[in-house]
């Protein structure tokens, strides 16, 4: 019994310690982003790695989600005779929740895990120590461009996810289920409001981008220098970034709804 209490106590202290670590690391990232040298070449490379390489999964998933939303939405709305509003249903769901959250989760899986693995492998093969010995800060040179690249890619990918989702909804709603094309778009346009919906969505995607960038680079940076460590860093990054995204999703949704 005493052992259990001790274990709980130790884990709590350990977690607080970890939170402190990530907070300090986060402030270093912010500093390195704002302070020169700006490393645009590396940022472009990272935009490619996080953004361009995620396009395939984002666009296909977005379209697929659009298909499902239109189908499900139609099935429910048709009971109330409101099936012409399917455009609004697809749009609202995508813009408010599914767009930012699903994009964040997909990007975490694809780019977040890749980043954690890459940085972790660099730790294991002493590449980061090599940089230190050349008087180059690994946070400045390696992790910050990756974190920033991912954070900047996220809102763009989210917007594309949503657009592809709307298109998918159109294909199913109009093409398959016979909703009028004009009505699809007009119900969409009439229901979506910039401040209520789109702005909140953009805010979410920006925050999620920063969270995933922070966590995936942090897990890689603090990986144990062996292959087990790299693997733990990768899975840990995906799990922690996903959970953090979902928690922040609630917080932002609640706050955004309250005080516009």
């Amino acid at each position: 019994m005493l052992e259990f209490v001790r274990e709980v106590g130790w884990r709590t202290v350990d977690n607080v310690h970890g939170l402190g670590g990530i907070a300090l690391y986060g402030s270093r990232l912010v500093y390195e982003t704002l302070a020169p040298p700006y490393r645009l070449r590396r940022l472009l490379d990272e935009l490619y790695n996080s953004g361009v390489l995620s396009l395939a999964i984002i666009c296909t998933s977005g379209t697929a989600v659009g298909f499902v939303l239109a189908l499900q939405g139609y099935n429910t709305l048709v009971r109330f005779g409101a099936e012409q509003s399917v455009g609004a249903v697809v749009g609202l769901s995508l813009i408010r929740e599914l767009g930012p959250v699903l994009t964040a989760l997909l990007v975490t899986g694809r780019a977040g895990s890749a980043i954690a693995a890459e940085i972790g492998a660099m730790v294991a093969t002493e590449q980061l120590d090599g940089l230190r010995m050349m008087s180059v800060d690994p946070v400045d040179y390696v992790t910050q461009p990756k974190a920033l690249g991912l954070a900047l890619s996220m809102p763009l990918l989210t917007a594309l996810f949503i657009v592809f989702g709307l298109f998918g909804g159109y294909l199913v709603g109009v093409g398959l289920l016979g909703v009028d094309a004009g009505v699809y778009f007009s119900s969409l346009e009439n229901t979506i409001d910039f401040r209520n919906d789109v702005l909140g969505s953009v805010l979410k995607s920006v925050v999620f981008g920063m969270i995933v960038g922070l966590i995936s680079t942090w897990r890689g940076y603090t990986a144990a220098p062996n292959s087990a460590g790299v693997s733990a860093a990768t899975t840990g990054a995906v799990v922690q970034a996903s959970v953090a995204t979902l928690m922040f999703d609630y917080v932002i949704t609640a706050l955004w709804g309250v005080g516009i």
């Binding site: 002493e126 590449q127 120590d129 090599g130 230190r132 008087s135 180059v136």
Partner: protein
């Protein structure tokens, strides 16, 4: 302290260093010195702390207690920012090369120049190619580190360490994973670098043969302490630990003794 170490002409001084990783004591009052312009080899069985000592000298690990002197500068308690300045005087060759695998060999060797100097691309290219020649690498510019052989990786790592013209070269297991011919080649290269530039070189090695051929001084690590001597002194040493090591090395792989 400063006067004492300056007198011996020592370039790098380790004074009463203690280090433990959790329960495991690695060094318990370790003291040794490495003389200027000499090739010093840290010798010992696997796991005795050779690489750890090298990393202490590089400032990558901090000791729990004791002093580390690089020239006139004590580094064990230096904040990271100032440590970066001290590292300009050091060059380090890692066991696996530690080249960045996402960049070409050329970009890897050019990195220190691009980061810390204002040289033009043309001047950088000249220096990089001069280094390639000095270490015996040809036509590697566009290759990725993953495409190099073990020996070539070591040469590239040496080129990168040397390009900033350091005073002290730290080398972790330069001969690991090399065939006997490659070992001889790297030996010759290191000797040439030492004679040609008068660099202080500190190597870790568990390979007796190359140590005996290369070293001016040997620092033998055992039980968390060091025994220093010239090649002759170590060969003729009466210390049982050294004798055991030399004998074992003569007939097979060095004994593994976790301290």
């Amino acid at each position: 302290m400063a006067a004492e170490h300056a007198r011996g002409g020592a370039h790098v001084d380790v004074i009463s260093v203690r280090l433990a990783f959790g329960e495991r004591r690695v060094f318990d009052g370790l003291s040794c010195r490495f003389s200027q312009s000499k090739v010093s080899v840290i010798l010992g069985a696997s796991g005795v702390g050779k690489s750890t000592l090298l990393r202490l000298l590089a400032g990558l690990i901090r000791p729990d207690y004791g002093d580390l002197w690089i020239g006139e500068q004590e580094i064990s308690r230096l904040p990271e920012r100032q440590l970066r300045k001290v590292r300009r005087r050091l060059g380090m060759m890692f066991q696996g090369g530690a080249l960045l695998d996402a960049m070409t060999v050329f970009d890897n060797v050019a990195l220190p120049l691009r980061e810390h100097t204002q040289l033009s691309e043309k001047e950088i290219a000249e220096r990089v190619h001069a280094q390639f020649e000095a270490v015996g690498l040809k036509r590697v510019d566009a290759l990725l580190p993953g495409e190099l052989s073990g020996g070539m990786k070591k040469r590239a790592a040496l080129a990168r360490a040397m390009i900033t013209e350091p005073e002290i070269l730290l080398i972790d297991e330069p001969f690991s994973g090399l065939d006997p011919l490659a070992v001889r080649l790297i030996e010759a290269l290191l000797r040439e670098v030492n004679h040609g530039k008068g660099l202080t070189m500190i190597l870790t090695n568990h390979h007796i043969g190359s140590t005996m051929r290369l070293a001016d001084e040997i620092v033998f690590l055992s039980d968390g302490a060091a025994i220093t001597g010239t090649v002759k002194e170590i060969k003729e040493s009466k210390d049982p630990r050294i004798q055991r090591f030399l004998v074992a090395a003569g007939t097979g792989p060095a004994l593994e003794e976790a301290s």
